[in-house]
């Protein structure tokens, strides 16, 4: 009897005995290495267990039970509008982050502001800069169009009815936030269109009785367009709205996941 400690689970020997390709061997070795330290297999087992439990208990959906697949897939394009808007949102996030490296929200400058000049730099000198901006803008148009059509689909197929009222409300909030997203982005280049569209926005806020001036101060940072306005629009566009909208989208999709898709009858 040797004093050498004997390992009952000598995976190394087991690995040697097997005839495996290089990829298989590397994979197994990595898996074993990680599993020894992190007990991955336990967690995978838990996950797998949960997955099968969930799917075993799931009743057949309406389309499955009544064999309505043909009708459902006929309308499929309308049912993909929600995910299309999320795809556009992802494209927007990527191109937006890249554009953010080169943009500066400042109105200082003689004839043209720093913001405007940075936009000119992005479009004229930066490699792929014009393409980035172009894709960012078109993705925004696509996202808003997809979201509008998504709302129409939900309305005309009655998908907002019980038990999906809460998700309808979240969706309407999301659309309004998205319009704000678009508006704040429209102001960032600080060209004539931005300035005067923003001016109309200020005037709209100001004309609301009682809370109008307060709202104008809060959103536009003043009663006329200037550095505070640009800064607020910038922070709204790159900091506040991304967090809020992403969280709401996650909630929206999570509820759809829980409740299932409202299928056509």
């Amino acid at each position: 009897m040797s004093l050498q400690k004997k390992d009952d689970f000598d995976h190394g020997e087991w690995l040697d005995k097997k005839e495996l390709s290089l990829i298989e061997k590397t994979y197994l070795f990595t898996l074993m290495w990680l599993d020894k330290r992190l007990r991955i297999v336990d967690y995978l087992e838990l996950l797998e267990d949960q997955y099968y439990k969930m799917n075993m208990q799931m009743p057949k959906s309406h389309t499955e039970q009544y064999n309505l697949d043909n009708k459902f897939w006929y309308w499929y394009p309308l049912y993909s509008l929600g995910s299309l808007s999320i795809i556009a949102y992802v494209v927007l996030a990527i191109t937006g982050a890249l554009l953010g490296f080169y943009y500066a929200p400042a109105t200082a400058g003689e004839e043209a502001s720093v913001a405007y000049n940075q936009m000119l730099f992005i479009m004229a000198e930066l490699n792929f800069g014009f393409m980035l901006r172009s894709i960012h803008r078109w993705a925004a148009q696509f996202m808003i169009a997809a979201v509008f059509l998504h709302m129409l689909r939900v309305y005309f197929t009655g998908a907002y009815k019980e038990p999906r009222e809460v998700n309808w409300i979240i969706g309407v909030v999301l659309i309004l936030l998205l319009l704000l997203f678009g508006f704040s982005g429209y102001l960032l280049p600080w060209n004539q269109l931005s300035l005067w569209a923003g001016q109309i926005g200020v005037e709209m806020a100001m004309s609301v009785p009682l809370v109008g001036e307060w709202a104008a101060l809060l959103i536009f940072g003043g009663f006329e367009m200037g550095q505070p306005t640009l800064m607020r629009m910038y922070i709204m566009h790159v900091f506040i709205l991304p967090f809020v909208v992403t969280a709401l989208i996650a909630l929206h999709v999570g509820i759809v996941w829980m409740q299932g898709i409202a299928e056509p009858h």
């Binding site: 393409m131 172009s134 894709i135 600080w190 004539q192 005067w196 004309s207 056509p264």
Partner: protein, 257 residues
Amino acid sequence: MSEDNETRADGSGTGIVPPDDETPTWRDRKERTQGLSRLTYEYFERARREDQDLRQESDYVERDVLGFPAWPHETIRNLAITSFFIGIMIFLSATMPPHFGDPADPSTTPAVILPDWYLYWSFGLLQTDPLNPELAILGGERLMQSDTFGVLVHAPIIGLIFLVPFLNKGSARRPVEEPFWAALGMTGVMFAFTWSLLAIDNIIAERVPMMTATLLFDLVHIVPVVAGVVTYSVLKAMQEGYMYNLNRRYYRLRPPR
């Protein structure tokens, strides 16, 4: 534990007491609660029982296999749709790059002041002040200033959209089943479109001289209503058609004597 074997609350010991026979179980604890937490417990128990009963007597067919395989069917379809969609976006951004105007200049007002297309409806609403109710009581003066009206009129419209699921209840899904709500939706869509036209009225006046301001304003508010009425009548007619078919089948099975 301290030497006198007493539980001490001064933070010196762990504060953990080993359970004995007197220690309540979690279930006991929940049952003994009062007020809101007791209500919550009772509701959860009821809901769980109800769920179980429903599941026992339901005729749901449970899946023994997963419905639609994620790989390769679902994944490939999603990849195809995604890449097609992104492809269209890149194609359009290459062929139609965005316009970039002059730098901001507060001293010169441009002829055309517009936001992006998706806010046209809102800008159009600002020009609906002829709808602003005139009150004779106030000596013919308007209830609100015209720009205030244009802004405040957003509230009932957006509020109505929020309230849709609470106003239209029931299990009907198809537009044919609820002609009124389908017609209302069509009116809304058309209004979004025509109010957008109102936002670009000076461009329209330039391009189409025939379209005077009054004519445009009237059309903007009449066309959506007409569209709604047409939708309603078409769907009603379709309903009649369905009923006719149903009746025909019924009488074919049981001919009238």
